[in-house]
């Protein structure tokens, strides 16, 4: 007997998935450009949080420096524009990937030697180091003024559109396609032998070592992969925002990424995606409601941890499991 868990779940939800994808594609036809911008931003954060969750939710390593990879991914196009005059989307994306992934590989190699709070503080220190470099080297990075990111060409064709038409047109579709591809990749990782091994490391790394798994090396792979996701999201964020500054690497943003995962449920695949999108809207509307918007976010975090420790998706999953168990029990009674 072989039980197929992953694919059958996917098949059962395929119709819902198709509807969501179709809805995403028709958004630009109906929504105002500000809403498209907001959704794009939410999706990029979702990519970042999903990548981060490979490290946090799956491997159980709480990093406070993930913004570094997002930020470096965002700075890559800015540097290429200013210092090399390269305005090609393909070159930008590839450079951001290489840049963020390489830095993640180096930082990760050093950080996975430590566990728990030491690991967290080391990642925080590294990310703030990059923040400080970008902030202080004014003559290279323009400090906290940041750098401007223009509209890039695609496959050599420049795009003669206004910024807002570009955002609600081509860029939106680029972001949608990239998100869907990376969500699918993230899902495969989550359900792959590697993903299972990471989850086992989270649960009991000592025992896993004695099953013959080099635990540190696997943590390093997870760290590097999470940097890869952050790099791509950062690159597209730079283009979407049209401007990058060091705040993209600040630990506050790293903390927000953790928040997104906890909000959505870091033990569930969909958790970080739902959490990131919800966070985007929550923060945006909290800011427009009151200058004390942090209070809204803060109190929602407290409520979340106390009432729904598994996050929104964790809570939903538990409800569904209870329901299916209830059905199974009632079947047992009848037979």
């Amino acid at each position: 007997m072989v039980i197929k868990i992953g694919p059958s779940v996917l098949r059962a939800r395929l119709p819902i998935l198709m509807i969501i994808i179709i809805l995403l594609f028709i958004v630009p036809l109906v929504a105002p450009s500000y809403q498209i911008f907001l959704l794009s931003y939410g999706l990029l954060l979702a990519i970042t949080a999903l990548g981060y969750n490979i490290l946090f939710g799956q491997t159980g390593l709480l990093s406070f420096g993930h913004a570094a990879f997002f930020g470096l991914g965002a700075y890559a196009p800015a540097f290429l524009t200013h210092y090399a005059g390269i305005r090609s989307l393909e070159v930008w994306i590839i450079s951001s990937i290489i840049f963020a992934t390489l830095v993640a590989a180096v930082i990760g190699y050093l950080c996975v030697r430590y566990t728990k709070i030491y690991f967290g503080l080391l990642t925080l220190a590294f990310s703030m180091l990059f923040y400080a470099l970008l902030y202080k080297f004014y003559w290279v990075t323009r400090g906290d003024d940041g750098l401007y990111v223009p509209i890039p060409s695609i496959l050599g064709f420049s795009i003669p559109l206004s910024k807002s038409a570009y955002i609600s047109g081509p860029l939106y579709y680029i972001i949608i396609v990239t998100s869907l591809v990376l969500f699918a990749f993230g899902w495969v990782i989550y359900n792959s032998p590697f993903g299972k091994t990471l989850q086992a490391i989270r649960e009991n790394s000592a025992r896993i070592e004695f099953l013959g798994i080099p635990v540190k090396r696997y943590k390093w792979y997870a760290f590097t992969l999470s940097g890869f996701f952050g790099g791509i999201a950062g690159c597209l964020f730079g283009i979407l925002n049209g401007h990058v500054n060091p705040m993209a690497l600040h630990w506050i943003f790293s903390g927000e990424i953790v928040f997104m995962c906890v909000l959505g449920g870091h033990r569930v695949f969909l958790g970080p995606i739902i959490g990131a999108i919800l966070f985007t809207y929550l923060k945006t509307y909290a800011i427009t409601l009151t200058v004390y918007w942090q209070i809204i976010l803060g109190s929602s975090l407290i409520a979340l941890v106390l009432l729904f420790p598994g996050g929104i998706m964790g809570w939903a999953e538990r409800l569904m499991r209870k329901r299916s168990q209830g059905e199974r029990k009632s079947l047992d009674v009848h037979t």
């Binding site: 039980i3 495969v188 091994t197 000592a206 099953l211």
Partner: protein, 248 residues
Amino acid sequence: MTFILECENLKKYFGEVHAVDGADLQLRREETTSIVGPNGAGKTTLINLITGWLTPDTGKVIFDGRDITHRSPHDRVKLGVTRSFQLVNLCDGLSVLDNIRVAILARRRLAGIFFSLVDRYGYVSDEAFQLLKQLGLEDHANELATTLPHGDKKLLDVGLALATQPKLLLLDEPTSGVSTREKSGVMDIIVSVVRDRKVTTLMIEHDVDLAFSYGTNVIVMSQGTVIATGKPGEVRKIPEVVALGYGE
């Protein structure tokens, strides 16, 4: 080679405490051997020395004709020496099936694959199910390990060790914490699985009656040394063993 494991004059002192003090033992292939002895006799330390959690002060551990005294635990797993734990040591938040699958993936060197679904590896799931069936856990395959009753957790712990396909399996009190009523049920399953898989097994068992009835051989330890080895019936007649209260 008649012996799969030979320990020669093993010593391990913790300060003044002579935990293992010149222990010698030999294990024949495919036999199930119980170690008994009072608390502090050095049983767990001996297992720690054999599996590499500790290195001896003096003496040798020879596995399969190879001196492994100073090999890492990790290396010994690859050579075929695995252990289970006195306290249940599982991946609580994973399903029972996934606990076993992770061990099999590690052994088959598939654990690093991230671009394909784990369910595609049907032969891994099949192997896991076969093992779960032998352990009587197949109905719990999709439950979280943490929700299992204690006896089943102990079985799963042994299952994790077995999934690495060891040649020599060391069980540190496989029935600790299991109620007296259920102990022999758990032992029946463990002993039948290791015999079926032809795994040489060395187990610490606190319950003397269980140890003598499930071991084909018995090793009696006291104060860091082996004081008697042999068939259960013979060992129980030796005066030193009777003196410990293990006589018939």
